[in-house]
Every structure is written in structure tokens, then in C-alpha cells.
């Protein structure tokens, strides 16, 4: 299943990690994407914060190591109420 949030996350991750969007799935992670090192992680987090107009806590940032986990973290932030 795809959701708008997943699509937006995938598009940003594709840009920042310089990987083809078609190869990015929910299961993609720091383990499977070679360019996803600590520098790119920081750049990715900042790009996500900008896109979704939010701020992540350091504890969250450390855990956002796969696309699935990022989508969940974003959903937590943008969920109404």
C-alpha cells in the first residue's frame, strides 16, 4: 500500500540519498542503501523537517534508519490532534 506520506518521503530520500526512487521501498534502510551514511542522514532529516514543517527529537532521529520508520515518525508528527 502506498500513502501520500510514503510518496513524499520516498521522493525526498531519492533526492538526498541520490538513489533512484523506483528502488526505494518501505524496507530500504541504512543497511541497504550504500549512500545513507551519517552525513546524508543529517541532510535527510533536515530535508524532511523542512518538507513536513516539523522537528524531530534526537531520540527519534536515531531510530529513523529505514523508510518505514521515517514514515511512522512523520505520521506521528502530522497526525491531527
Amino acid at each position: 500500500m502506498t500513502s501520500p506520506i510514503f510518496d513524499r518521503v520516498r521522493s525526498i530520500a531519492a533526492d538526498v540519498l541520490q538513489a533512484p526512487a523506483s528502488q526505494i521501498t518501505r524496507e530500504s534502510s541504512t543497511e541497504t542503501i550504500g549512500s545513507w551514511d551519517s552525513v546524508h542522514h543529517l541532510n535527510l532529516i533536515l530535508a524532511l523537517e523542512q518538507e513536513f514543517d516539523t522537528q524531530f527529537d534526537p531520540e527519534e532521529i536515531d531510530k529513523m534508519t529505514s523508510i518505514q520508520r521515517i514514515v511512522e515518525a512523520v505520521e506521528n508528527k502530522v497526525k491531527p490532534g
Binding site: S11, I12, D15, V16, Q18, V39, L42, N43, L46, A47, E49, Q50, E51, Q55, P58, I61
Partner: protein, 626 residues
């Protein structure tokens, strides 16, 4: 087009090999969405296009005490869009001192064109930041002096290993002073202690060629101290600013990169109706247009003030307007709200011809390339037309609110310069004198009579401290009458002359209409009976009046005095230096070599003479080299 459509269009253009159109569409995307993810997209696409575009390669090293990694893609994207292919190297965290001091460090092996030193008050002067309240006056003064001594020794060390440009970010003030209100009542305030260091940094920059201050404190203040920082980002990832402010620091870096890479505009062409004044002069008339010190005319007056500032910084102003010339001239001359006057404009095109054609004519009249023009017009259709027909022109986008016009002009980085010479301040009047010269030329029929009537004097002097900035400026921006187009920084020039291996001469031309200023540079190198012309260039505004022959005749005489038997030089063709193509052949030089990059020419000094034209008076000064 929205962002997704623009991206698809860009991919399509790249796949179809339409590089220039792809590059323009990337600008459009960036104008709509300068986000971090767009930056990565823009960089990746330009990396595919770089070989097909004429980009200026430039190497930048950043020495830093904090995280700048997120700024790098933003900076490279902005640079690509300005025509600069930027390679960036970051120092290790807080390893900047070792990298500066060690001549074998990766800083120097990288061979940067420019280096940014980015350290902040809290790292380098903790006594003046967090711990200020508990320190005595003596202690804080000692700390301040230590910081200044450190900076001095870094700059000295840097200069002994590298001739690159060095940009030093100054130190920011805290959001609130450690002693609260009392700080503002004391001459030994925290503010003053930090300010003192910044004043010393300014001194360092003025004493050392090619060293500049980036006013980081003013940058933070401009965007609001309270909103600059994000304590969480600092504590977790050592990023000393909120994510959105990374863009502001990148923009500030770009303001330096434009003049450093020569990506600058020499002239700004402006529209009249709804740009220089509110309303349409042909319809609203003198009494109807909005232009005064009060709302709403004040917005236009403020734009005129910004343009006047550019005029005094040596940026030429020109007008391109669709109007009846009489209506427009009446307003330019006689409207009481005008801050600008006809004398401030170096060229006027008030007609109904399309603007792209007018811009080409203006460039020709001012003797500059079309890529040296910037264009300011409130009408988005005119802007689009110029963009598509003359992509090399810097088109400035204006919003619908005229209150923002002046700020946007002031923030446009193609008008930035790192030094301001006496010539820059006078440039507008040089062009006025030029118009009078042309009038004279039309009334006199014989060319020799015209030359004689000009009463020209060529003043030639060795390079001095006083002329160094202007000489380097000419070496870096003269494109047309330039035989080798070698670019030298101030520090490199000074080093070449100090080595004793090179001679560097400047040329100043005066005539009956006034002083043209310092307009020519020659660098020669003598060895084994031959004197080689390493660099010979002249500003186009004096070309064609035989002073170039006078300058060459001086170089021949100087070479002879140094014992040379031959005067040699290369002509290295570029896209722009066709005006210099026949210079050697027309002065009796023989071609000795033809290679891919250019041709080598020689003049036998023992048999050939190279007289100075009788109507140019040579005045050779023996300035001492300090």
C-alpha cells in the same frame, strides 16, 4: 508548471540533449522550491550536464568548528545555477588550526581557489560568551587579545602556504548579554569585547591582500538573533542555526563567490513605467505618476536610491523602456521626485523595439558583453522574453509589491565586488566623457587629426600597493582586449613582482575630456635574451585610440633596457578576445608557433623599432614598489 512537472520537463530535456534549456528549467525549479531535496536534485542533474555547459570550475575549502554538511548541497546547487561548478572540501571538525599550520595538510593539497574560515564565538572565545559574567575586566581583555593573536597567526601561516582568497567569518554577539541591562551601561561590556575582535579582523583584512571579512554577526542580526539559533540542533548535531537559516548563510557565501569567480554584472538595464516610478508616464502624465517621499511613491524613490548606490559603486545604469522618448525624457529631467538624473545613465533605449534587441545594442554601446548585463523590469512577460532570447543576461525577478524592489536590487549578488577602486567610483563620469569624445570624432574627418585633437597622455608605472587592487580587478575581468586572459589574485601579483622575475606595469590614460583612470596592465618576464609578455590587457574604452601601440612601444623599450634581443608573446584566443586577435601581427611581430591553445609571436628588438605614436605623450613613472 508545478514542481513535479518541472522535474519531468528537466529529465526530458536532459534525455533529449537540450542542455541549455535544461539548465534554464533547473533555475525555474530552484526559484519555485529552494529546498534541501531540490538542491540534491539540482546538483545531480548539473553533474550530468556539466560537460555540455560552460561552467567556471572553482574549488572552495571550508575550515569550520561546526556542522556545515547540510549547506554543501544548497551551496553547490546555487553555484551551478550561477554558472559555477563548485568543488567543496570541508576540514575535519575543529582541525582547522592544524590544517592551516601544516603546509602538507589536506587543505593545501586540495589547492583551493578560496577558503572560508567559519568559527564561532562560543568555540573560539568561550570566556566572552558563556563565561563572561564570571570574568574580570582584565581576564576578558586577555582572552580577547589571545583570540586576535590567534587569528593573526592563522592568516600569516595561511599566506605563507597559499595565495588563495581567504574569507574570515567574524564573531557573533549573544542573543542576550551575560550581565543583562548593565552590559549596555559599561564600556567594558560583553558587546564591546566581541566587537573589538571584529574590528581587529577588519584590520587583518585590510592589511592582507585577498583576505576578506564575512560579517557573520550582521548576517545573524539581519535575520533576527532570536530566530537564528536552534539550541536543539546545536546540542544534537552541532548545527549552530535553525535549518531554514542554512539558506541564509549559503546566500551570504554566494555573495562572495560571484565576485570571486567573475560572475558579475557590469551594467544594470532598467525599465521606467512601474519600475522607476509608479504608473505609466504616457497615460498618467507628470502629475499622475507615483514618485515622491510619501506612500505610495516612496517605494519607487527607494528603488532609485538603491540604483544610485550601484552607480556610485561603478555599476553602469542604462534605460530600456517602451515609451515615447519625449514623455520619458520629460519625467527623467523634470519630475521633482526623481533621485536619478539623465547623467546617471550610460545608455538609453526609449523606443518600441523589443527589449532583447535593445539589450544587445546597449551592450555594444557600452563595450561590454551581453553576459555582463542585468535586467530589471516589473513586467514578467518582458523578463520572460529576455530570458528566453538572451539567457546570458541576469534577469532580476520582482514581486508585484514595489515596496520590495529596492531590497531585491540590494540583495542581488551579481552587483557585489570585493574591492572598490577609484575607477569604480568614477565609472559613470568616464562614460559621459566617452560620449563627448565620440561627438568630437564625428566632427573631425581625418583619423590622425582626431588622435591629435584628443591630446592623450599615457602614464605608465610599476605596480604599487595603491594600484594593486585595480590591477588585479582588471586582470580578472578584462575579457575583450586581453591577449592571454591569465587571471591573477592580488596576492599572486604581489608575489610575482616581489620574486623579481616579473615586471608588472599599469597604464593610466588621460585626454582633453579627463582622466580615463587605470585602464591597462602588462606583465613581462625576462630570460635568456628574450622578454616575454605574460599578460597584456586594456579596458575597451581606450582601445582604438592608439594608446595600445604606445603601451607596446614602452614594453619594447623597457625590454631593450633589460638587455633583451627579442620581445615575445602569446595570443590565446577565447570566446571573447577577438578584438586582440591581430594585435601582434599589426605591430610587426612574426608568428613563430601555432598550437591548439594559441599562437606565439616575436619581434626582433635589434632590427625592428616600435615607435610611440606622435600624438600620445608617454609619461613613465618610477614608483617604488611599496
Amino acid at each position: 508548471m508545478n514542481i513535479a512537472e518541472l522535474r519531468q520537463e528537466i529529465e526530458r530535456l536532459i534525455a533529449g540533449g537540450e542542455s541549455a534549456a535544461a539548465s534554464r528549467t533547473l533555475s525555474e525549479l530552484w526559484a519555485q522550491d529552494a529546498s534541501a531535496s531540490s538542491a540534491s536534485f539540482v546538483v545531480a542533474r548539473f553533474e550530468e550536464l556539466r560537460d555540455k555547459l560552460h561552467l567556471r570550475a572553482y574549488r572552495l575549502a571550508i575550515l569550520r568548528s561546526y556542522t556545515v554538511e547540510p549547506m554543501v548541497p544548497l551551496l553547490r546547487a546555487a553555484a551551478f545555477l550561477a554558472g559555477i561548478d563548485l568543488t567543496v572540501q570541508l576540514s575535519e571538525f575543529n582541525a582547522y588550526v592544524q590544517e592551516i599550520v601544516d603546509s602538507a595538510s589536506r587543505l593545501y593539497t586540495f589547492q583551493p581557489d578560496a577558503v572560508i574560515l567559519a568559527v564561532q564565538t562560543r568555540d573560539i572565545a568561550p570566556d566572552l560568551w558563556r563565561d563572561f559574567a564570571q570574568k574580570t575586566v582584565e581576564q576578558t581583555q586577555t582572552s580577547g587579545s589571545r583570540v586576535v593573536t590567534d587569528f593573526r597567526s592563522w592568516v600569516r601561516n595561511f599566506r605563507s602556504h597559499s595565495q588563495s582568497h581567504l574569507i574570515v567569518q567574524n564573531l557573533e554577539q549573544p542573543v542576550t548579554a551575560a550581565r543583562g541591562l548593565v552590559d549596555g551601561q559599561s564600556s567594558h561590556s560583553q558587546h564591546e569585547a566581541i566587537e573589538r575582535i571584529n574590528r581587529e579582523l577588519l584590520g587583518l583584512a585590510t592589511e592582507n591582500n585577498g583576505v576578506y571579512v564575512l560579517d557573520y554577526d550582521a548576517l545573524v542580526a539581519r535575520h533576527g538573533r532570536l530566530h537564528w539559533h536552534d539550541e536543539r540542533k546545536w546540542l544534537t548535531v552541532r548545527l549552530p542555526m535553525a535549518a531554514q537559516n542554512t539558506h541564509h548563510l549559503v546566500r551570504e557565501w554566494m555573495r562572495f563567490l560571484h565576485p570571486l569567480t567573475g560572475k558579475v554584472a557590469k551594467a544594470l538595464v532598467v525599465d521606467l513605467d512601474n519600475t522607476l516610478w509608479g504608473g505609466v508616464i504616457g497615460e498618467d502624465g507628470m502629475a499622475g505618476i507615483k514618485l515622491s517621499g510619501e506612500y505610495p511613491g516612496a517605494a519607487y524613490q527607494e528603488l532609485q536610491r538603491a540604483l544610485l548606490e550601484l552607480h556610485h559603486r561603478g555599476i553602469l545604469l542604462a534605460i530600456c523602456s517602451k515609451n515615447n522618448p519625449e514623455d520619458a525624457q520629460e519625467a527623467l529631467r523634470n519630475h521633482p521626485g526623481m533621485l536619478l538624473a539623465p547623467k546617471h545613465f550610460a545608455a538609453l533605449r526609449i523606443n518600441w523595439i523589443d527589449k532583447a534587441q535593445n539589450l544587445r545594442d546597449i551592450a555594444k554601446e557600452l563595450n561590454i558583453g551581453v553576459d555582463s548585463l542585468a535586467f530589471l523590469d516589473d513586467n514578467p512577460i518582458e523578463r520572460q522574453q529576455v530570458r528566453s532570447q538572451l539567457p546570458e543576461v541576469c534577469v532580476i525577478d520582482l514581486p508585484s509589491d514595489p515596496m520590495a524592489f529596492a531590497r531585491i536590487v540590494r540583495e542581488t549578488p551579481v552587483f557585489e565586488r570585493l574591492t572598490l577602486s577609484a575607477e569604480d567610483r568614477q565609472r559613470g563620469t568616464y562614460y559621459q566623457a566617452q560620449r563627448e569624445r565620440e561627438k568630437l570624432e564625428q566632427t573631425i574627418t581625418s583619423r590622425d587629426d582626431f588622435y591629435r585633437s584628443l591630446n592623450q597622455e599615457a602614464e605608465i608605472a610599476p605596480l604599487t600597493r595603491a594600484t594593486l587592487a585595480r590591477v588585479s580587478q582588471l586582470a580578472n575581468k578584462t575579457n575583450q582586449f586581453n591577449l592571454t586572459s591569465k587571471r591573477y589574485t592580488e596576492a599572486q601579483l604581489w608575489e610575482m613582482v616581489a620574486s623579481g622575475k616579473f615586471q608588472c606595469f599599469s597604464l593610466r590614460v588621460k585626454d582633453r575630456f579627463g582622466d580615463n583612470g587605470l585602464v591597462g596592465v602588462a606583465i613581462t618576464k625576462s630570460a635568456e635574451g628574450a622578454c616575454e609578455i605574460d599578460t597584456l590587457l586594456m579596458s575597451c574604452r581606450v582601445i582604438g585610440r592608439t594608446v595600445e601601440t604606445a603601451f607596446l612601444s614602452f614594453l619594447a623599450a623597457d625590454a631593450r633596457e633589460r638587455g633583451a634581443k627579442r620581445l615575445e608573446g602569446w595570443f590565446l584566443p577565447t570566446k571573447k578576445n577577438a578584438p586582440a586577435k591581430d594585435f601582434y601581427s599589426s605591430h610587426g611581430f612574426n608568428k613563430v608557433k601555432e598550437e591548439n591553445d594559441g599562437s606565439q609571436w616575436t619581434l626582433d628588438l635589434t632590427s625592428e623599432s616600435l615607435p610611440c605614436p606622435e600624438w600620445v605623450r608617454l609619461n613613465v613613472l618610477n614608483g617604488d614598489s611599496q
